[in-house]
Amino acid sequence: MLESLPAAFRSHELKADVRTLLILRKAMEKNLVKTLGDIYNVLKAIIVQDPEDIGPYTRAYYEYFLNIDIANGERLNDAILRSETFRAWKEDYIRRQNNPEDLSDELLVERFLDAVHLTTYDIKEIVSGREIMDNDDPNMKDGEVDNPQDATRKHLERMADYSDMSLEELLERMEKIAEQQKTQHSGGSHWIGTGGISPYGHGGAARDGIRVGGTGGGKMARMVMNDRKYFPVDMDSILNDNNVDAALASLKGIMEESAHEQLDVEKTIQDGLKRGGLFLPELKSISQQKLQVILLIDNGGYSMDPYIVSIRELFKKMKTRFAHDLETYYFHNTIYDKVYSDPSRRDAVEVSRLLQKDSEYRLFIIGDASMAPYELNKYSLRTYHRIKKKFKRTVWLNPEPEKYWRHTFTLQVIKQAIEMYPLTPNGIEKAVKDMNKKK
């Protein structure tokens, strides 16, 4: 059943696997899935695990079930309007209209979305809404059956009720349709359109003037597509305002997590006394609480300017969140025997003084490592070697995209002395991981 679904959704960086299918199947058994809109909701609840998944999920859904590709940053409306699926649906929709209304594209898209995102809950709501309306009708006499509204209601109820179809039949049908979807490029009108909204191609009823307004699902899909909040940040893009938080999360890895446990003598005694002399060994997990960080930032020259603000923001957050012992120094292009404790580089601090600090400090050097070859002389290189020797956990973060690294001579030389990583959330994560390996 829908074997290709996990792979299709995984290609959007979502977590889908056999279990997804199993839960979906169970949901079908429990009558939770009857319309295409139901599939959207159920799969969303199973697959989405983070608000950032909602965007990619919506995209994957439209691609897989409706054959509508939504390009990066495209509005849902536009993607629908240019799709074959919509064209086919529109043709069908207009043909079935008894007295064709003149509908603008925008309104048509709205109707289309209503159809796609119609859920069982909506149908039930309409049905019960009608029921109340009918019962309230003072003109209606008892036994008056030939009521057109009543007929529609029956129709709607029938649509919502697939109990006469076995699960296997349903699955088979879905699969067949999914297959056609792929081969015929018929624009997915099998799913919606002909006879309405049921994914099973059953004779639908929510047509002919029954407007299913405000189903919400379509609204939500549209909202999501236009909001960056619902898309993951690009972990490989150079540090900027948008991914500072993702970078911070990567930095958190610096707090070593260990499963190491040790006998907690104090607690054992305390709890033992409380128990009236029955001593049971109490364990405590050991975690490294001491986190000391030195930051060396290259703030000279125009090449670094665009990144300084983001870098400062990142480490400011780091300082408030978890690394309270954080010192920042500045340098210009490369380090000789001095760094500076202020951004305007007036208060010099001897490197030899830095070298007297606790070797537990972690060093982040942030710079593009690009300079005139003569600037990187043997004194500077010696400084790097001394730093590396003293502080085993030293890394270099470079805001320059990695693909340009090989063109810069000085960068290559420095890279030999100190491990270098790109200044992206992924790069930081990797740097921190490697840093943690060294003791």
Binding site: L32, N41, K124, G277
Partner: protein, 304 residues
């Protein structure tokens, strides 16, 4: 059958439609519902109001930094056990000395270990069919806690300490489990995979008006309009900590004590803004903005 009817909220609780559907889905599939969202969006209220509305038993486990599965499932009371087993010996000694009075163990029998098991909310919920179990703010827990829960959640089975008794619940009797998280820490993927996930979007102005109406039905809609205008404006200017529903309600609690005209004037002057804005830098930012174009606020709030 488990309680699987579709619940859409009660008189005092406005349940978002999508949330109601996710909750229904979770109950039907007997899976836990994991709700995430900004603070003050009514995550904790959902199970409580649902239980209240349907007269169901509720068990709450508030998670803290020291939470462990023992507290959640069950723990063994060593002190009572030790005391009772000593009493057996004491009683024997007293008998030897010809004393007729016996010390009581309060009906507990040291032979039966299950007498000393103190049941946590999980076991209690599993033992009362159709109950509601709320695990509140799971993101506050130590990292192992969610992983330790996995077994219980996926097997519907709990093992009691020492006595080894197994508490099992049939799928139809499964309690409705709701887990809330403020996203202060990422939950393990395997854990999320076993839950129905729902993210509560921040309510828009129309929904918020209804929410305010449910809490303070008597407040003049005019006050609410003006207040909401300011509230959403504050949320949009990119504060470090955007104000939430709860804070809006607190602010209105203060504002609504005055007459309509006074209240509107108070809102325009951003009186009691401390209820909405909680950090110094945000306050400074707002003061700065108000000083820059003082007309902006009064114009924005009066034309409504």
């Amino acid at each position: 059958m488990a309680e699987t009817s579709f619940w859409t909220g009660s008189e005092s609780y406005l349940c978002d439609k999508e949330l109601a559907q996710a909750f229904h889905m979770a109950r039907t599939l007997s899976m836990p519902l994991l709700i995430e969202g900004e603070p003050g969006t009514g995550k904790t209220e959902l199970p409580l109001q649902y239980a209240k509305d349907n007269n169901l038993e509720t068990f709450v486990y508030p998670v803290g930094s020291k939470s462990n599965v023992e507290q959640f499932v069950a723990r063994f009371d060593h002190v009572k056990y030790l005391r009772d087993s000593q009493i057996e010996i004491l009683n024997a000694q007293r008998e030897e000395k010809g004393l007729s009075t016996r010390l009581s163990t309060g009906g507990r029998n040291p032979e039966s270990l299950s007498d000393y098991v103190i049941k946590g909310p999980a076991v209690q919920a599993f033992q009362s069919p159709h109950s509601v179990l709320l695990i509140d703010e799971i993101d506050k827990a130590p990292r192992e806690f969610p992983n330790d829960l996995l077994y219980a959640l996926s097997h519907r089975k709990l093992v009691l300490p020492e006595s080894g008794e197994v508490i099992e619940v049939a799928e139809e009797n499964m309690p409705a489990i709701v887990i809330t998280s403020n996203r202060e820490q990422e939950l393990p993927t395997a854990f999320k995979g076993r839950c129905i996930y729902h993210y509560i979007h921040f309510p828009d102005a129309d929904v918020m008006r209804d929410i305010v109406g449910k809490h303070y039905p008597k407040v003049d809609p005019k006050i609410v309009d003006v207040a909401l205008d300011v509230f959403y404006h504050l949320r949009n200017i990119g504060l470090e900590r955007a104000p939430t529903t709860r804070e809006l309600l607190n602010w209105l609690q203060y504002i609504k004590q005055s007459t309509t005209e006074e209240a509107v004037a108070k809102i325009e002057k951003l009186e009691g803004i401390g209820a909405l804005v909680k950090t110094q830098s945000d306050l400074e930012k707002i003061q700065h903005m108000v000083l820059q174009n003082p007309d902006d606020y009064s114009r924005r709030s009066t034309h409504n």
